[in-house]
């Protein structure tokens, strides 16, 4: 009896991770602004990326508004929201699962309600949108929280370690007290890393199945099977000035660059013929025939996400 009671007591007293009660608290916990000091170029790329605005949608469309107002996950009042209201957090805000309390979901839902309220003052709507925009997939999310997938053999990410392309005995400015070491991630440069979020199919773990990105499934089953070998990073993080591009193009808010990227991956061949068709004697029909051939050389279906 004594032997059993001790470990249970220890477990009961073991502190869990500190949890954010508010959007500001979670944003502060994963704030990567300090990274800018030494990685200004990368930070600048990331700031323009969709990872920097994962809840804002394309063209700041606030993609979570339909979720809370008109889906199976809808709530009558913001106070009814919990973390379970937001299955999208799995990828759009992965740090929320372990580091946020339900009160953050309430605050986010209130912001979404306010931002979409046609009767709300413009300044309140703007403030609500700004609040949602604080929730980001920051440097820390990918280079720490999501950096290890094989936890059974490699352990969980260490709190003071930034995971990247190489081991570093020291990392960061001497004055910084956080992320003081660098370790090489086993998967950061592999497609499987991106596959954690750019998914494989319906997410059945929720109380209502959610089908979002299926890019990694397409990559695995319909690109590799045709002999493709490139990783996600080779196309979407091409080196710019020797540094992997953390804009992760395409940037759907920039139509010109997106158009260029798509045109490089998708070809269009058009063949035309003008002639007179003859179905039966004496009934010539003037006709144009247009043959089109579209070829996709990307490593996944288009469209997907």
């Amino acid at each position: 009896m004594f032997l059993v009671a001790v470990p249970l007591t220890v477990l009961a007293q073991a502190p869990g991770p500190k949890k954010a009660k508010t959007i500001d608290e979670l944003a502060a916990m994963f704030d990567s602004a300090r990274c800018k000091q030494c990685h200004a170029e990368i930070y600048g790329q990331w700031e323009k990326s969709h990872h920097a605005r994962p809840l804002m949608g394309v063209a700041d469309g606030l993609m979570l508004t339909p979720l809370v107002k008109s889906s199976a996950f809808q709530v009558k009042s913001p106070k009814d929201a919990t973390l379970r209201t937001f299955p999208c957090f799995k990828c759009h805000l992965p740090q929320a699962a372990a580091y946020a309390e339900d009160s953050l979901a309430v605050e986010l839902t209130q912001a979404l309600f306010t931002a979409s309220d046609k009767d709300a003052p413009d300044k309140d709507k703007a403030a609500a949108r700004a609040k949602v925009a604080k929730l980001q997939i920051t440097c820390i999310v990918c280079h720490n929280e999501m950096a290890i997938t094989h936890k059974l053999v490699l352990g969980s990410p260490e709190k003071d370690v930034i995971y990247g392309s190489k081991d570093m005995a020291t990392h960061g400015a001497p004055s910084e007290k956080v992320f003081t070491k660098g370790k090489k991630s086993a998967i950061l440069n592999q497609a499987v890393f991106c596959g954690q979020c750019h998914g494989t199919g319906p997410n059945f773990e929720f109380d209502y199945p959610v089908q979002c990105a299926t890019l990694y499934g397409s990559y695995q089953h319909n690109y590799l099977s045709k002999g493709g070998f490139q990783t996600c990073q080779e196309c979407h993080m091409k080196k710019v000035g020797g540094i992997a591009d953390h804009l992760f193009p395409p940037n759907w808010n920039d139509k010109a660059s997106t158009s260029k990227m798509l045109s490089e991956s998708i070809s269009l061949d058009v063949q035309t013929l003008g002639y007179q068709s003859l179905r039966k004697a004496g009934a010539l029909t003037p006709m144009i025939v247009v043959n089109t051939k579209i070829l996709n050389t990307a490593g996944h279906r288009i469209p997907d996400g």
Partner: protein, 97 residues
């Protein structure tokens, strides 16, 4: 794809859509939005290393022997009106030799 006579009058217009299509699996209605989709039920998207081949046959109106054919390939974001152009090809096609 749009076909116009040389004076700009539209002769024909046709389109093809390439995208995965999902329902909630609770009914037969196609839906948008990850929160509403449960599974794809049809997939006409552009697959890697595969081509989509189409043939369009346009019967010309009486007296018309020349037309301008424009083929546009666009990526639509959320709604058909919000387009990212990918390719645009225009050809003048004539029956005259």
């Amino acid at each position: 794809m749009t076909t116009k006579s040389v004076d700009g009058k539209e002769i024909s217009k046709d389109e093809r859509n390439y995208n995965p299509q999902a329902t909630s699996c609770l009914n037969e209605k196609m839906v948008y939005g990850a929160q509403n989709k449960a599974s794809y039920v049809r997939d006409t998207s552009l697959q890697p290393y595969e081509s989509k081949n189409e043939t369009f046959e346009i019967k010309l109106p009486e007296g018309v022997r020349t037309a301008d054919v424009t083929v546009e390939l666009n990526y639509e974001i959320h709604v058909p009106e919000n387009k990212v152009p990918i390719h645009k090809v225009t050809r003048r096609v004539t029956l005259d030799r």
